[in-house]
Symmetry: C2
Subunit: 457 residues, 2 copies
């Protein structure tokens, strides 16, 4: 247990008055308070809910992630509703959306109608749209104000809105016009016009844009916040850098999980049954595709019967073929994140991957020809010519398999991307199977032609 | 080409006066300007450097990433130095550190001595420390000021410092005392004491902390900026949310690349030779480990000679064993990102992964027993008993191999993590090889015992 956790526990378990406990707990960050909640007894949490201020509870709940609704259920419904009301509406909407609590309708209905509307609006956006991640707290002022009036309007709005470092400027009809840095507003001299500090080239996104489509753009501009516009160019919310951190983390975590053969990210606390369910579809699919590969291997049974030794190197050829395919896949998926790639750039990528596959294949071809040839001579006491004929066959298969697999590992995700299917999900199983097939067919095919048909082994 | 790119090109290529071109280009975001640079002729870029203001060039260079030093070299050295001087010192330090330009010493020496010092200080930090990513622009005020004095101090500092949404509060000796939201300072009423709006529980990091060790913490607190302290608790810089986005992107990109079998991230523009060099070490290592596996497979040659059919299903067993190992590896590496994991939690993870492996293995065992049994009967015209004896052997091997591989996929990265080696790099090749060995030994071992020794096939 970390030092501060012990301190917080001691404060909660002390016999001090509510007021003293509340004051002492003020010294800890909401994130640390949230981390302590699962370690408390339910009775102790109830004490905490009673002594702490609504605003503080709201902040703690914002850090409690997926457990928040469990804690809210432990509170008096009216209090829970008040806490949700004080939270960032986007976070509250998230909690309500994912909660199975019987109270969730009641919590929502007891809130201030304006906040209810904001939460309903946020909850209505699809999970994969950028608007589902936005905050509704931001500062907007009209473009025709003077600097002094703008500053006054800012101070008025600041008490209710958190994200003040960028100020959004609207035209007369409330349409997004540009943005100004709070910094520039603060240091502006008397007499400067608001117009002079507005950046009209400020980036923005539309509420129905898919996260994966606009994330790279948002990252590239690296502004502290970016406005989210509705169809009619009014601001409906903002995406802050903190939100981007979360989105990047989620999106990359998903891609990472997919490359690792999982359908979605998992964590330590997830129930076993859920993990089983998440992984099983892939595994079943992979098994049936593996059975297909095995059927193809079965076609070469006669080759193996004649020369059992070559069977031993099958696993190596298939592994290497798979490794090269995965390397190309990993590179391609990252490159495809850039949505503005031209067809020429995609073809260039295929060419590059195949060149890399060929270069590495050639080096490994030579190494394995020498090493495996010597090994077969020494361990199996075969004549030089036979040993090196077999190792030449293995080396050439490696080269061919690596060249073709680097093509497969690049072309398959590009194809899925082109037809609008997420390449990270769809490519994995197909590439394992395809590189296996490439390995089996080149290896046994070459063995059959070179060793059985030409050299009559 | 995107619409705005065409517009920018037209402006630069027009015959307008420098002043008009400069004014027109003001309408475009620095990120968009940076994106256009590689598409210009050198002559056109020279025009751009001449017409644009130093501040604007500095902003564009901040967005130009690794190409910035190429552009700076095209400028007059004095101008390049001025541009670097106006940039965020952390970015300037980065450019100078990674540049091979003959001018880089000259650029540095022509700068304002204070900025030179900041850049030298930043460049001295190791790449993997959090301080190498910090910015040196922040607002710090003494704790004994009144709200009004604090506001005045803020306005004074704001013209030279960008990151103003969090204000750092120092004690009399300049030691970090806490932080205040600019928002709270703005809305504070006359007579409030600065002390009342300071959060003394504000998170911080030390400059020599490794990025991977403190990144989770920084993300969890999700503040707009976090101070970086020196050994003696003075602030040396800040990490903003924008920096966190970049760091998360880099760190996760690295892990993603490692899981995909690459030693580091690659991109589209990377020269082929560099990609070959990045991938080759892994491939050579994997090939030699694959040869080891092949030697083990060779030991079972007699089993294969007696019953060639079972050889066909080797690829399926090895694939499934590898898939399960990779799934466990992907989950484990993500879980290990949390540096505060107890030994008990780690053991729990191994137990959980093995349960998942067993559950999925059992399901696939039953499916493959039935499906492969029927397949062998139908395709190979074997008697029912023989067919299902073989498929039982395959099913049981699957179950065993998946159970052991889920252990291997979890225990290996935990072991590397425990001895202080990056589990994402070290685990990959070892796990491929180990799961292959697990698959080969269980499958051929079981075949030898069940089919050859007991059933005398």
């Amino acid at each position: 247990m970390l030092g501060y956790e012990k301190e917080i526990l001691d404060i909660i378990r002390s016999n001090n008055s509510p007021r003293v406990i509340c004051d002492q707990l003020q010294n800890y960050h909401a994130n640390d308070m949230a981390a302590i909640l699962p370690k408390l007894e339910k009775k102790e949490r109830l004490t905490l809910y009673r002594v702490m201020r609504i605003e503080d509870l709201a902040e703690i709940m914002e850090y409690a992630d997926e457990d928040a609704d469990i804690y809210l259920e432990e509170m008096d419904p009216k209090k829970a509703s008040n806490v949700l009301e004080k939270m960032e509406p986007a976070t509250a909407a998230d909690i309500l959306k994912n909660s199975d609590s019987q109270y969730k309708k009641a919590w929502l209905e007891m809130m201030d109608p304006e906040i209810q509307d904001a939460i309903r609006m946020l909850a209505a956006y699809e999970e994969d749209t950028i608007a589902s991640r936005m905050r509704t707290n931001y500062i907007a002022i009209k473009r025709n104000l003077s600097i002094k009036e703008a500053m006054r309007s800012l101070i008025d709005q600041a008490s209710e809105n958190d994200n003040i470092s960028v100020i959004y400027i609207l035209d007369e009809e409330g349409i997004f016009y540009g943005a100004a840095d709070l910094k520039d507003l603060i240091i502006a001299r008397e007499g400067t016009k608001l117009e002079d500090i507005v950046e009209t080239n400020y980036p923005y996104v539309y509420d129905d844009e898919k996260i994966e489509d606009c994330l790279e753009k948002i990252k590239d501009y690296s502004e502290e916040s970016i406005p989210v516009l509705s169809e009619d160019n009014h601001i409906v919310g903002v995406i802050t850098s903190q939100d981007v951190v979360e989105v990047v983390d989620d999106e990359m975590g998903e891609d990472y999980a997919k490359l690792g053969g999982l359908s979605a990210e998992e964590d330590l606390k997830e129930p076993i049954l859920l993990s089983v369910k998440k992984r099983l579809p892939w595994l079943v699919l992979l098994m049936f595709m593996g059975m297909g590969v095995s059927t193809v291997v079965g076609l070469f049974e006669t080759v193996v019967q004649k020369l059992t030794l070559i069977m031993a190197f099958q696993s190596m050829i298939l592994d290497m073929s798979g490794n090269v395919g995965t390397q190309s896949l990993a590179v391609t998926i990252r490159v495809l994140m850039d949505k503005n790639l031209t067809v020429r750039e995609k073809l260039h990528l295929i060419g590059k991957e195949m060149s890399v596959g060929f270069a590495n294949g050639l080096i490994l071809c030579i190494v394995s020809f020498v090493v495996i040839g010597l090994y077969i001579m020494a361990a199996r006491h075969m004549p030089v010519m036979t040993a090196f004929a077999i190792s030449a066959c293995i080396g050439l298969s490696l080269l061919l398999a690596m060249l073709i697999s680097s093509f497969v590992g690049t072309a398959v995700p590009i194809f899925f991307n082109q037809i609008g299917v997420d390449p990270a999900v769809a490519s994995g199983p197909l590439i394992t199977t395809l590189t296996d097939l490439v390995g089996v067919v080149t290896y046994y095919g070459l063995s059959w032609v070179m060793l059985v048909n030409i050299l009559h082994m």
